[in-house]
Symmetry: C2
Subunit: 513 residues, 2 copies
């Protein structure tokens, strides 16, 4: 980084905090506006929806008016529109049934031999033709009527952004009203967004200090993993030894849909402090490791659409081509669900123990099926010895007490006692705990499905308040080995197999695979 | 245009012809390569197709190999792949029938009341949920199995371009073998291309003399309406008083999918000579008319996908914003089908007359139903008088003889005799001749469906060989009136109504509308 004398006033500006609350900056304020007497009513926005859908070819003026109207509605008004969308523009079921009856009769009459382009008989072309036509008709009829509206909105300037806002609102509504019709709208919209946001339509752009302030401002606002503290922090993340890449869509200019921050290092970092604050950076010619230390998506409405997978792939391809010295592609990642999982596990075991105590020995067999020893005997002993006032509590009760506050980090004794059990339980959480066959931890699931393996877990790697609360300060390195990415992704997606390096075996037994 | 001394050698280069054959430059050579002993066989390309489709998540390596393999195949090999695509990866009909039977029974049992988000009874959520799930399953099952391959290919770098090549090959194959299965592939692929090439994914870029030579070279190669003769011609089309805009997709960088050339003029031009060769150009501050004089698409595989409509709309929006003096948005367009239509009409009438002569008066009633007077009596007289050797031929036979060669343009007498009938017949051709309710002329249909009206037809507006052969040298001005675009587009698409200015009424009677 070239350094020059900074005038004093600028220096103050550069160091000024960028967030009023550094601990939890959160996303930028929701775009739901304050009520304004001049804003349209939900009923008038519904009218423009009606006008957009009913025109033979949707009129762009009606779409524009719908779009402006929807944006100015409050939460209640927006929900009214969403409910009207699924109630009034659902699948035309009567038509579907008619078409199905016709299809079944044609298919029964002569369609059995199809497909048969090569072996098609003279004269059967007519019925084959009818079959294909009916299949196309059925595909169309099975689409909800709002499909036309969504397609037209996407083609409209600003439409894609509006659809992302609509989906974000819909996800909020689904949290309270998980009705099948609203779920179907979400499923359909998500399916379309996946197509529209195909990696073919996205442009990779390296974000630098030369980019417009309006873009850099968005990076500050949307950085979700490690908040950017001030302009010096931001400049450092875009300077020598660092890279920041964003994925942009032509319809949403000046704003990445997702961005990734990379540190070029001599070796895989084991703590986030060294990535964010160590000075000076490694000279780029000496870098052997590209460390992905933050991935943030900016549109809550694109939740569940894996843009990060393609972004990672393209960034790895680009770095491989441009920097031959870089041989290791690794992450330093948070484990956002670890503490929550551990605390609920502890609470459950404490509850079971209470129930056993109440029922006496009668039902011992039944409840003990669910009992498990969370701590090993030597871990129990260390925790017991580290606590000053035991008050007759069991070791898991003690552990629960300790973890509920973040103060234990300040005590060397407590930290030493917790290191071994937390690392072991964390390794178990990452490699064994599953939900529908996939890793329970969302970040783990993201990297594993993209073809990474778990390389190492690091003690006291993130000592920020958030890091301690979420994962007991532990962070994990996932590694992308170019030669294994496709194979690992397929085996994880197929069988849920989590690839780990042997360094994890000190905490857990390798699984039989 | 700033002018400076050009070194003599550069002047030669600038004036050098850019096409070996200026009359019919045609599109760049087809990408079908010459056979090469090292190229893969169609069988091995089929194998990679199989590998791409069958993997749980299509392996990008297999897609890449398919892509390279397909590009290197000759026409026969490519056709084998296309046939295999429709034969082996068709709609899974047995599964469709199973799902339909299930759906019909559920829909019959309790789905009749749906949709019913608002009025949904407690407890009926389960069956509604099942219905939505089945509809989604059916939508998916009704997709041909190659759908997954096409989606994955589109997400691949270079994939969109390959899919455009595949569609171009498919359109060629359909010309010889119009089988229902191949037609269904074309329909499906076109539907997907429309989605992927949504205007939301396209970027408008003004092409200037500052753009890379690799891009300008493509403009020269793909200009389909008025061939670019040399670098001076190209530089003029990108200089003062001119604009060139291209529509770009992130997946096909450095190459517009379609581009439009605009001249800024004091008034609507009536001949292409004044647009292409008049010097000096109108000062831009005096321009009142933006004249669209050429629209060319570069990808034959995107045939039938109306990108021009959105391109025109965005260019008009941009010019309206940036140049307040410009009030008229007009085209100067060829009429590519006029001569072909007129000659076939003449041939048919001549044939009918022959038949009548042979059969004598017996069948007069029957054949005269199809007889029509193409020429008015005074037009017949003028043509008769203008021809030196009549040889007992009828006037329509004389007209046929004259039009079959382009030499009549060189004779003032013949030109004068033809002016009135050709303008009248051209007006009729543009406003009355329809195919499936739409204008028979492809360029007319393009502008009318986009919301333009026919403003004026111009005699001797394109005296190039191609202009005389295609349209008797006549060109047409279509005008886009901002306040009427949506209304005109809707009425044309709905009822086939062609809006014309009163200037056309001198050639034809206004229609009752």
């Amino acid at each position: 980084m070239t350094r020059y004398q900074t005038p004093k006033s600028l220096a103050v500006l550069l160091r000024a905090r960028m967030h009023p609350d550094l601990v939890a900056p959160g996303p930028p304020p929701s775009p739901v506006p304050a009520p304004d007497p001049a804003t349209p009513s939900a009923a008038s926005v519904r009218h423009w929806l009606q006008a957009s859908v009913s025109a033979a070819s949707p009129a762009s003026a009606a779409l524009d008016r719908f779009s402006n109207g929807y944006r100015s509605l409050d939460r209640g008004g927006r929900r009214e529109i969403l409910r009207s969308l699924v109630a009034d523009y659902d699948v035309p079921r009567a038509r579907v049934r008619d078409l199905m009856r016709q299809y079944m009769s044609v298919a029964a009459a002569g369609g059995e031999e199809l497909p048969g382009v090569a072996g098609e008989e003279e004269g059967s072309g007519g019925s084959a033709s009818a079959l294909y036509r009916m299949e196309r008709g059925l595909r169309e009829a099975l689409r909800p009527k709002y499909a036309v509206f969504l397609e037209a909105m996407n083609a409209q300037p600003g439409g894609l952004k509006l659809l992302a806002i609509i989906r974000a609102d819909l996800l909020g509504l689904l949290g309270e009203d998980n009705s099948p019709a609203l779920r179907a709208l979400d499923g359909y919209l998500k399916e379309k967004l996946v197509t529209w946001l195909s990696p073919a339509a996205l442009t990779l752009h390296q974000i630098t200090w030369d980019d417009p302030a309006s873009l850099l401002e968005k990076i500050v606002a949307y950085e979700a993993v490690h908040p950017i503290r001030n302009l010096i922090d931001l400049k450092r993340r875009l300077g020598v030894g660092r890279r920041c890449f964003g994925y942009f869509h032509p319809a949403i200019p000046g704003e990445p849909l997702i961005f990734i921050e990379v540190a070029l290092l001599k070796d895989t970092a084991t703590s986030i402090q060294e990535v964010l604050w160590d000075d000076p950076p490694t000279p780029e010619c000496e870098a052997r490791c590209a460390l992905f230390y933050s991935i943030s998506s900016t549109q809550p409405g694109l939740s569940g659409i894996n843009l990060g997978k393609f972004l990672l792939k393209r960034v790895i391809d680009m770095l491989t081509r441009d920097m031959s010295s870089v041989q290791i592609f690794a992450t330093l990642s948070p484990i956002p669900g670890f503490m929550q999982w551990l605390l609920s596990k502890l609470a459950y075991q404490i509850k079971l123990a209470e129930v056993e105590l109440q029922d006496g020995n009668l039902s011992e067999g039944a409840s003990s099926t669910f009992r498990e020893s969370i701590l090993l005997p030597e871990e129990e002993r260390m925790i017991h010895d580290a606590v000053e006032q035991v008050d007759g509590k069991s070791e898991i009760e003690l552990l629960q007490d300790i973890l509920k506050s973040s103060q234990w980090v300040k005590s060397d004794k407590l930290s030493a006692a917790l290191k071994s059990p937390l690392l072991r339980l964390c390794a178990r959480y990452l490699t064994r705990e599953k939900k529908r066959g996939k890793a329970l931890d969302s970040v783990a699931n993201f990297h594993l499905q993209n073809g990474a393996m778990i390389e190492r877990i690091n003690w006291m790697a993130d000592q920020s308040e958030k890091g301690i609360q979420q994962s007991g300060g532990i962070m994990v390195n996932y590694v992308y080995r170019l030669e294994n990415i496709e194979e690992y992704a397929l085996s994880y997606l197929g069988t849920g197999l989590v690839h780990t390096s042997p360094s994890l075996f000190q905490y857990i037994e390798p699984m039989d695979t």
